[in-house]
């Protein structure tokens, strides 16, 4: 943990070297997700509701997902450039150091500019919470927190899998983007609107619906089943198979030799 803080400190200082660029990037991150928000707003201005979900209800969904994505991205994006780490032989150096390799990969890149996106998510969340018409009892607050935590771990898991695949393919697989960036992009609406098949896929294979659609139903009072409330916990557990996959990849690691 101390080592990680050290990494974070170095990263922060190096990113602060280009202050204007840092601020512009953070603003840009903010605006990118803001334009997505505007997109949702305009869609609802025209259509009013989608499959029975109102604007403010979708906003809860959107902001929870964006919050967890931006947290996960800030700390776990090191895995995103992992293809590069493998192909330039950097990973050999990581392996010989007497520290956990996950920690070192994490430390290789920490994106503080994601603060822009995080801020956006928090603002939308702050707007959506009082306006969604939900009565915020203790259990619902717990559900909301679980959703955010579960989402963070889920995306972290996906980033780790993304990196784990690099052990076998050397390069990052663009296709994985459909689950990470795509999950963020399409998860802004409750996953049920995409139809049965997609919902099942995101329930049993990539458990995105567990942190999004089902607990949302509980939040909105459309179901009283307390099971739906604790489903995000399985989202947290998703990190375990991801980590196992990663370990499996490390075992099979062959250096590229450069």
């Amino acid at each position: 943990m101390k080592l990680w803080l050290k990494y974070a400190d170095i990263m922060l200082r190096s990113q602060m070297q280009y202050k204007t660029s840092f601020i512009l990037t953070a603003i840009g991150q903010f605006l990118v997700s803001f334009s997505v928000f505007i997109g949702i707003y305009f869609m609802f201005a025209r259509f009013n509701n989608v499959e029975g979900f109102k604007f403010s209800e979708v906003l809860i969904c959107f902001s929870v997902l964006l919050t967890s994505f931006s947290i996960a991205e800030c700390f776990f994006r090191g895995f995103d450039t992992f293809g590069g780490i493998i192909s330039n032989g950097e990973f050999d150096r990581i392996m010989v150091r007497p520290r956990n390799e996950v920690l070192q990969v994490l430390g290789s890149r920490i994106e503080f500019t994601r603060i822009g996106r995080f801020l956006q998510a928090i603002i939308v969340l702050a707007y959506a919470i009082p306006n969604s018409g939900i009565v915020w009892t203790a259990d619902k607050i717990v559900t909301l927190c679980l959703m955010i935590i579960g989402g963070t771990f889920l995306f972290a898991g996906l980033f780790i899998i993304y990196a784990g695949i690099c052990f076998f393919t050397i390069e990052g697989l663009e296709f994985m983007n459909i689950f990470t960036d795509g999950g963020k992009e399409f998860g802004k609406y409750p996953l049920s609107i995409y139809g049965e098949g997609i919902l099942k896929f995101f329930t049993f294979i990539i458990p995105l619906a567990l942190i999004q659609y089902y607990p949302l139903l509980y939040l909105l009072g459309r179901t009283d089943n307390p099971l739906y409330m604790i489903l995000p916990v399985f989202g947290i557990l998703f990190i375990l198979p991801s980590y196992i996959f990663w370990r499996f990849g490390v075992k099979h690691y062959k250096s590229t030799g450069s």
């Binding site: 840009g28 259509f47 995409y194």
Partner: protein, 267 residues
Amino acid sequence: MKAYFTFFKIRFINGLQYRAAAYAGVATQFAWGFMTILMFSAFYKSNPENFPMTFENLTTYIWLQQSFLALFMAWFFDNEIFDSISSGNVAYELCRPTGLYEMWFVRSLSSRIYRVVLRCSPILIVAAFLPAPYGISLPVDIMAFFLFILSLALGSFLMVSINMLIYASTFYTISPMGIRILSVSIFELFSGAIIPLPFLPDNVHRIFNLLPFASTQNTPFLIYNGYLSGKSVFHALLLQIAWLFTFVLFGKLLFRDALKKVVVQGG
């Protein structure tokens, strides 16, 4: 002129090497397009009378957008150009007897085009065989098809000419990240990459239409699916030409100014 064409050819052939990456990209874009269509279909089911175009028009738009993504993706920049500016290698480029603006223009254009050449046909072919409301339909008539091609060309030129401004700005700021991401966010919203522009509220739509961003991808796709027809096609084309002219002129002026003061950072 011949030199630029040769330059285009080199970059183009070079780019065609990366076929495996392109196929992975095709799969991603296909899944992406499919999800987008499902999303719109949910809105369509909830409130069909508020749909600004027919559902077939929309799916056609989405598939065109996915097939020609590489022409219009806002986040795509040639990193070598940024590197050559911040590392000082631009000095070598200046030694060549070719215009810097023209050379980089051709270079950016060719790297966009080879990506499209690799990616668009598989997406278009599969999309053509999808069942009726979900697939891509033929252009409304042969005239619309030719106008679409013309407009597509103008749109991609315009796209590159806007990119050139971003490259030029690197001469002044050294680290391009900030301006890049700002331009991406503006583009995504204003060009109809997030939602097709006709889905915006009418008065917002009218304003967005006049901005240069709408002239990149929105115009050609709407010509293809017949949303724009008759006189409005020609207005849209004229607007595209006017913006293209403005941006090329502005870009060239900016390059000239930047090169007057350029400081090569050693190395």
